[in-house]
Amino acid sequence: MNDTVAGLLQVVLLLVLLAACYAPLGDYMAKVFTSERHWRAEAVLYRIVRVDPSSGQRWPVYAAGVLGFSFVSIVLLYLLQRLQPILPASFDRGAVGPATAFNTAISFVTNTNWQSYVPEQTLGNTVQMAGLTVQNILSAALGIAIAVALIRGFLRSNTDRIGNFWVDLTRATVRIMLPFGFVAAVLLVIMGVTMSLHSGGDIGGSTYPLAPAASQEAVKQLGTNGGGIFNANSAHPFENPNPLSNLFEIFLMLVIPVSLTRTFGTMVGNRRQGTVLLSVMGGLWAVMLTLAWLSETHPTGAAGIAAGGMEGKELRFGIPGSILFGVSTTGTSTGAINSLHDSYSGGAGGVTLLNMLFGEVAPGGVGAGLYGLLVLAIIAVFLAGLMVGRTPEYLGKKLGRREVTAAAVSILVMPSVVLIGAGLAIALPGTLDALNNDGAHGFSEVLYAYASAANNNGSAFAGLTVTSDFFQTTLGIAMLLGRFVPILAILALAGSLAQQKRVDAGAGTLATDKPLFGLLVGGTIVLVAALTFFPALALGPLAEALA
């Protein structure tokens, strides 16, 4: 069986798996957030933290919960790393340096999982399991909560309540991330992923690391986190031993973001609304996959042709298994890698970069993909909706000054952070020393780093040394802004939507559950990203690809 056929079979198998889970998982998640009943464990938890689970919150209160919770999480994670020497099972790996600890704490709490350290040399089991794995679960649950709050904004009428953050967070954790993460971990162990509390060993003079990889790997993928327990991430044979585990890990990172469109459709009472968003996500993903695949299988340059496009890839995955992973990890906010994006051809490298610059909506991070896409849909409705001769409406809510302001703030953040960050970094003389490559490729590395941080992706175009205080700090700030400013805007949006009456759509309203609308949203995403980043991309991957 040749590589292409094997690759196509993998794609088909992946799509079949996703299709099988789409409706049941999507509807289950809708039930999780609409159910009136609290599980007993949840009720106990609410009593301990003194939360009244039946009371709704106004958006500023909800937002205060999000920020407060995240701030405490960052502080705790920072302290865990700094206090590592006195923690059990730290394997004498010492305290993590302040800049790295700051960067890592932010990175895991913002669902970015950018790693500027070598895990198997830096972190012991306590920090990994009590710190990083916990954040892998909670940051994903938080993303789902935000998406659900936004859906409620569309659903509700004449109210200033958008739900209860603590209930949403608890349910997303207890009813979604924990059970599915557990099942995924067990399956990964069966597929051969390492699960050990030992620090590693030594065979024939060469050392090998061990770690509780399967449990971390499961939630790392399921929650679109992406922070590996080994430095080589999903290219490491203990994290991702074979093509089957590879495909399963790709499936894990796609399954929740994809199924959330079903949750959305079910909750708003019109499943086709969800299907249209799914088709936008799927369409972009398919186009990007095709572009990357073509670019990788048609290598240019003497070295590229000699390597047959295999530079930086694992032989056990081949080109399709690597590309499929690469496109999915940048299309979601995962950022896990099973091959080096830095070594991709100019075209495929550009695809992974562009995938993030689209705002990560194909299909995007857990929760973040859905709310990101909804904001872009709002922009599309506003731009084109006027052309049907009415004040633009989406899902029965009018898009006025407040809604457009919130949506505009939300989409402004990422380009601002990426452009300012990359522009600042490239202007500093120190940066040139941190680059392994010069010219267009070197610039791509810098642009990729800020795109990855601002989009909470976490993957890296290796080749850029990011351990300097400048990069640790600015990338940390980029992650914070890229995560929380849009979240605040989204919650404000939800609040202002919830206050409106909901009006049924008629023949005079722009139909948002038809294929034409899907095209419109897709077009808006591509146009906005293209217009914003065309000059920067021209100086990076485009200059490389055309060379």
């Binding site: 009415r390 005079g508 021209a538 100086l539």
Partner: protein, 689 residues
């Protein structure tokens, strides 16, 4: 109530009559208007004026920067770019100035009606004193007699008079104004033609209807509408993104080996930010109000025009909108053994003398259905006519020794002394069905009954079907009994109807619709319509209506034509569509500009990027200049479209979107490639380019 067909007035030249059912048309745009607006456009270069429009303010700042740069390092390229950037700002100002100029011309013609008038104020003891019109206060009572100008807005409290309102409405036929009822309101500046009335003044001088009309059409009190604000926010966000993209480009370009000049960076920025829509946005809004004025509708705010586009439910008065104002003969019913031919002949003869619309419709029916002559023959003309008078309430003619009469049933039966159960049954039946029965008699012989009934206007059902396709529900409001209302509603094809409607019923209906989140438009003229007019999202008061109604509504129709509500909705939609279409066009344009400017900027750094020069532009300088020129010229080219509004035909949202996306989205992507290429062909002829 006088109902007249639309007659354009305020700008009588060059405007066409708009009949219902035709697509929305607009005033002609003449290039000469651009010249006339030039002084105003130059005045608007003031940065304080520019600050109102964030997008154009950025262009203004860019122009200043490039000019300073061109002064310090004079190059032909730098100066050319500077000049065209200033043109971009100027063209935007021109668009706004032209739109405002049209309003000013209309205000001028209105102002001519405002002469100093002498008011004959009544003292408390009933004696008169003469004071200047400007000294009148609310509550003053003034006497106005034939050939005198009414000194201020008010209500007639005594007497009845015919009034020439052509100064305001352009309608030359005089209208009747009388004390009490819904025809009591008079407007300052109009002239009494006959009789004497006493008017109670209801507005202060300077705040009269004409004063407010002048302020409205001049745009003096123009404020941004909600949708315009939202769009400005989005355009500002886009501008910020592009500003960042261009600023961040400098270090990136420097890293790649060649920093860019200020001229080039500003040129790129101005081409990218949405200048086209930014330049035309306020002109579109002003022109939207203007299109209403051309149809003799005054909107009190731009907000109301915008709301008109969002209307979900139209409350339409049956009489005058759905049916002709007057009842028409629709059926002849012979009784007592008379033949239909006998009845037709007698009905026709008796109506020859009746010049009311009802009378004429009887003659028309007989001519149409029974082939009788439509005009009086020479013989008949010699007969003795008995015209319809209010006293006899009967019409007819005496020909030979026949005395043929036609009248309401009670009158005629009383006059002939006939008792007829058969006639009475028909009369009752027709009345029950909402029609008006007239009885025809030849001497003492009752021949039959003529049914007068409401006739639904031809084409109105199709019009409602179009509205339905646009997602708008139509509701017929009538004082008729439920049975009649149902029959007419079915014939007209409205979605719902309100029978035996009281103003309270209307109010309740509007509230109910609004509860469901729907926007409602209605027309009204009576004082008791005022609360509903105020409650409706778009309330169009008839000019013939009372001052209270005009105060309550957010629009006034000078023609008092309730059918115009449909046009108002279409104008609102057209306004929003024009805004959306030009926004889409503006953003779509950027793609081509990138393909012109980026290779020009970077081909020296990475020769491979020369491949992006798909238009094959002559040189980096000519490419950048061509893009800037295109960006400026497209504003001028689109001014007529902004003023006229994009073509609009009532259809479903899906079709509208598909069509406009194709024209303005795809067209917006393609057109600049062609335009920039063509401009480059000329620009390359400039030496040194």
């Amino acid at each position: 109530m006088t109902r007249s067909m639309t007659t354009p007035t305020l700008e009588r030249a060059a405007e066409e009559t708009v009949s219902s059912g035709s697509p929305v048309k607009a005033g002609a745009f003449r290039p000469a208007q651009l010249w006339a607006a030039l002084p105003d456009a130059l005045r608007k270069l003031d940065p304080r004026t520019q600050l109102r429009n964030p997008v154009m303010f950025v262009v203004w700042v860019g122009s200043v920067l490039v000019t300073l740069d061109a002064i310090s390092q004079p190059t032909l390229f730098g100066w050319l770019i500077a000049v065209w950037l200033w043109f971009t700002v100027l063209f935007a100002n021109l668009a706004e100035a032209v739109a405002e100029g049209r309003g000013k011309a209309q205000a001028e013609s209105l102002r001519r009606t405002q002469r100093d008038t002498i008011a004959r104020r009544l003292r408390a003891d009933g004696s008169e004193e003469q004071i200047g019109g400007a000294e009148l206060r609310i509550g003053d009572r003034v006497v106005v007699e034939a050939r005198e100008t009414i000194p201020g807005d008010g209500d007639v409290v005594e007497g009845i008079a015919t009034v020439d309102e052509s100064a305001i409405t352009g309608e030359s036929a005089p209208v009747v104004r009388e004390a009490g009822g819904d025809r009591s309101s008079v407007t300052g500046g109009t002239t009494v033609l006959s009789d004497r009335i006493v008017v109670k003044i209801t507005t202060r001088p300077g705040e009269s209807f004409v004063d407010r009309m002048i302020a409205l059409v001049e745009g003096a009190s123009r404020q941004k509408t909600p949708n315009e604000i939202a769009l400005t926010i989005l355009l500002s966000a886009l501008t910020i993104i592009f500003l960042l993209a261009v600023v961040a480009l400098q270090p990136m370009s420097a890293y790649a080996g060649g920093p860019q000049s200020v001229v080039v960076l500003v040129a790129l920025l101005v081409c990218l930010i949405p200048t086209t829509i930014g330049a035309l946005l306020s002109a579109i809004g002003i022109a939207g109000m203007d299109r209403l004025v051309q149809r003799n509708v005054l909107a009190k705010s731009g907000r109301a025009v915008e709301a008109a586009g969002d209307i979900d439910t139209l409350l339409l008065d049956k009489t005058g909108t759905i049916t002709f104002g007057n009842r028409q003969a629709t059926e002849l019913i012979p009784v007592h053994g008379a033949t239909i031919e006998e009845l037709a002949e007698a009905a026709r003869l008796s109506s020859l003398a009746d010049q009311t619309p009802e009378g004429r419709s009887v003659v028309a029916l007989c001519a149409r259905e029974y082939g009788l002559p439509a005009e009086a023959t020479t013989d008949e003309a010699r007969a003795e006519f008995v015209p319809f008078t209010a006293q006899t309430r009967m019409s007819g003619l005496d020909i030979g020794d026949r005395r043929i009469r036609k009248a309401a049933a009670q009158t005629l039966l009383a006059a002939t002394g006939v008792q007829s159960g058969e006639v009475q049954r028909w009369v009752d039946l027709i009345s029950d069905e909402g029609g008006t029965p007239l009885v025809v008699a030849d001497d003492d012989r009752v021949l039959g009954v003529v049914r007068l009934s409401d006739v639904v206007k031809p084409g109105i059902a199709q019009r409602f079907a179009e509205l339905r396709a646009m997602g708008i529900r139509t509701v017929m409001v009538t004082g008729d009994n439920p049975r009649t209302a149902r029959a007419i509603a079915a014939q007209a094809g409205v979605d719902d109807h309100l029978a035996e409607a009281t103003p309270e019923d209307k109010m309740a209906y509007i509230r109910r619709e609004q509860e469901g989140g729907r926007l409602v438009a209605m027309t009204g003229d009576g004082t008791n319509d005022a609360p509903a007019l105020a409650q409706a999202d778009v309330g169009v008061a008839m000019n013939t209506g009372t001052a209270a109604a005009k105060e309550a509504g957010n629009m006034v129709d000078l023609d008092s034509d309730p059918t115009k509500l449909i046009e108002i909705v279409e104008i609102g939609k057209q306004l929003l569509i024009t805004r959306g279409a030009l926004t889409t066009f503006s953003v779509a344009n950027d793609l081509a500009k990138y393909f012109a400017i980026l290779p020009a900027m970077f081909a020296a750094l990475y020769p491979s990027l020369g491949a992006l020069n798909v238009m094959g532009l002559h040189s980096p300088q000519s490419a950048i200049l061509s893009a800037v020129i295109f960006n400026a010229l497209i504003i001028i080219v689109l001014i007529p479209l902004a003023l006229r509004g994009v073509r609009y035909r009532p259809t479903t949202a899906d079709r509208l979107l598909r069509r406009n996306l194709l024209v303005y989205g795809l067209g917006g992507v393609v057109l600049p490639f062609v335009g920039i290429f063509l401009i480059d062909l000329l620009v390359r002829l400039i030496p040194g380019m």
